[in-house]
């Protein structure tokens, strides 16, 4: 089965991290491993090791160890995502109706209309606030559908194996190479009216394949773990093993895939709406962009019309991507430990350089110093 390229490779780095992921999977978070017996960290000199172990955070236990570490990236990502969600929920209560055309047309930004008005005299800030709900809704529904489908195709294929695996894997690979958005465009073209739900379902239906391949690899690797064999011997049913034994261990990966699918769906919806193929009659960030470019916002340099909607999408997507990156660092501890190790080596060198002139210090490992130099320079 390793003949299939996608099998030997990783569609995302996470997939290649099977051995690393097992650290988390086995219930032992990487923090609980003694740094000294961690072979992945290129720490060789004793002084570097000393610094690394004192700088390391206190080990976390239980569920908290599974949660992303509070890195700067995670905080920024969460802040962006939460801020935009809150804006989309609360914003509409404080703005004009996004369909009221009572204002003057083409007004520039003012204290009354923060982002001016459009060709119909609709307040653009009101549209922006109300459009968020539509865009986020599509992302959520499509992301959930993609998650469920990738679970079905990925985990069942990986766990059950045999012919089921071959067939499901084949379907997944076909879906992977058929270009998604053109397919969505063609389907949308046949539907004369499209509700928000239909658009979300179509987007979700075309976005699951990449995640399914990653999940299948992971499920395949988990299948041959001892505790799964033990569960089998104990007489647990297949669906119970998948739901109770295997699924919880894939949570970080599932979360990452879900966020990726949400981002993809929001971008897809924006593209469709921009082309005029989005949900009919709804306001989303994409439809604002569509109206803006159809009514000469570009030529007139009305930046307040076409910049904010795209910026909202980009910032929301950036937030999701940052959270995803933090999750990646959990699934693959090397991503976190290797840069930290390099940093600590450099720190050790610095502190030794400052300590040496002032007399004997606790750390002394002159012979390995040249190697450290090289590493840091490199």
């Amino acid at each position: 089965m390793a003949d299939d390229i996608r099998e030997a490779q990783a569609v995302t780095p996470a997939a290649d991290a099977a051995p690393a992921a097992s650290v988390v999977v086995d219930g032992l978070p990487p923090e609980n491993h003694t740094p000294g017996i961690e072979p992945d960290v290129p720490i060789t000199s004793p002084d570097a090791f000393a610094v690394a172990s004192t700088d390391g955070p206190a080990p976390k236990r239980g569920l908290r160890a599974m949660l992303p570490r509070r890195s700067g990236k995670l905080i920024v990502g969460l802040a962006l995502v939460i801020a935009i969600i809150v804006f989309s929920i609360i914003g509409p209560f404080f703005t004009q109706s996004p369909t009221s055309t009572e204002n003057q047309q083409y007004l520039p930004p003012s204290s009354e209309h923060w982002l001016g008005t459009n060709h119909l005299g609709v307040d653009i800030f009101a549209q922006l606030a109300n459009g968020g709900a539509g865009s986020l809704m599509v992302g959520l529904v499509a992301g959930t559908l993609a998650l469920v489908l990738s679970l079905c195709f990925g985990i069942i294929a990986g766990y059950v194996g045999g012919w089921t695996d071959e067939i499901l894997k084949f379907i997944t690979n076909v879906m992977l190479v058929i270009p998604g958005l053109p397919l969505v465009i063609v389907i949308s073209a046949y539907l004369s009216t499209r509700s928000l739900w239909i658009v979300a379902l179509i987007l979700g239906f075309t976005a699951w394949a990449g995640a399914a391949i990653v999940l299948r690899l992971q499920a395949k690797s988990l299948r041959s773990r001892d505790y799964v064999y033990a569960a089998k011997v104990a007489g647990e049913k297949t669906h119970r093993i998948i739901l109770v034994e295997i699924l919880p261990n894939l949570l970080p990966l599932l979360a990452a895939n879900f966020l990726g699918a949400v981002l993809l769906a929001i971008l897809g919806e924006a593209g469709l709406s921009y082309l005029g193929l989005g949900p009919s009659g709804s306001i989303t960030w994409g439809t604002i962009l569509n109206q803006a470019s159809a009514n000469g916002a570009l030529a007139q340099q009305m930046w307040w019309w076409f910049v904010p909607p795209g910026l909202m999408i980009a910032l929301f997507g950036c937030g999701l991507a940052l959270i995803n990156f933090s999750i990646d660092e959990i699934i693959n501890p090397k991503l976190r430990q290797a840069p930290a190790a390099v940093k600590s080596v450099r720190k050790a060198r610095k502190s030794r350089a400052t300590q040496r002139p002032s007399g004997p210090s606790a750390v002394a490992s002159a012979p390995v110093a040249p190697r450290d130099d090289e590493k840091v320079k490199a």
């Binding site: 390229i5 290649d16 058929i178 053109p182 539907l191 990449g210 593209g271 470019s293 290797a338």
Partner: protein, 332 residues
Amino acid sequence: MRFYVRRITFYVITLWAAVSLNFLLPKLMPGDPKQIFIDKFVRKGGELTPAMQNSIDLLFGGDDDATLWDQYLSYWGKILQGDLGISITYYPKPVVELIGAALPWTLGLVGLATIISFILGIVGGAWVGWKRGTWVDHVIPASTLLQALPYFWLALILVSVFSVSLGWFPIIGAYDIFSFDNGPEWSWEFVGSVVYHGTLPALTIIISAVGGWLLGMRNMMVSTLSEDYVTTAEAKGLRPMRVATTYATRNAVLPSIAGFGVTLGFVVAGSVVMEQVFSYPGLGKLLLTSVQSNDFALMQGTFLVITVSVLAANFLMELIYGFIDPRTRNNG
């Protein structure tokens, strides 16, 4: 050898699935696309000649007496003859001719821009990964932002800044249609015009696509650099440059190449919408024109060609992958 046979089999079956999907889509849809099509055609002043009727039957299935299976077979027959029907938007031009005119633009622009951004992302990602733990790590948040940019929005911003405000680049088209009103020709001026018009569209693709490849490559590079064989190479005293290129990058690049297909999907999706912003006369624009005018024959044909192009690109990449990573060939 077995590797190539298996891959070719996979792509042949996928091609079959794509063509069949293309055949089934209009039949699965609610409403009566055939009637819409005929009404629209007659309204545009077209005449229902037997040849045209034949073309419509081919697309939507003929009268009720022909079974789905017979329709399917005749559909395949036409496809194999290179007949994708007749466009109503550009009546009476055959779809194949229109696609033939649009394909080189998309292949050239999207193909070239994809290759450039792929190489930039791989080289940049390898460098950022090699410099792990230094200030270069701050590139990561920036590249996640690039990843999340909607292609068409970036295109709008670029047009607004470089074409409307600064006037450095043209807003629309693939070449100067006033200087070259006879269409494309082989001359240096024409090539210059194409490059000049293609800069912003290409820049859009490169900027939006580079983030994903950079991030993926960086993460793989960091993982690879903490492998034992890299530590061994360093301990042996090899020059850092050699460790970075021959030991780490060579292995870290494999997943990026193998995952090329997934990312290519995003690029193609983004380019379809982006072509609309620039009115670039490629397949994406053709697809949208056909969608907006309910020109189903043109739409189906364009979708088929886009799909086949993506399949071909994937297939090519897998052959390259099989060539540079012998494990995939030998494990077959």
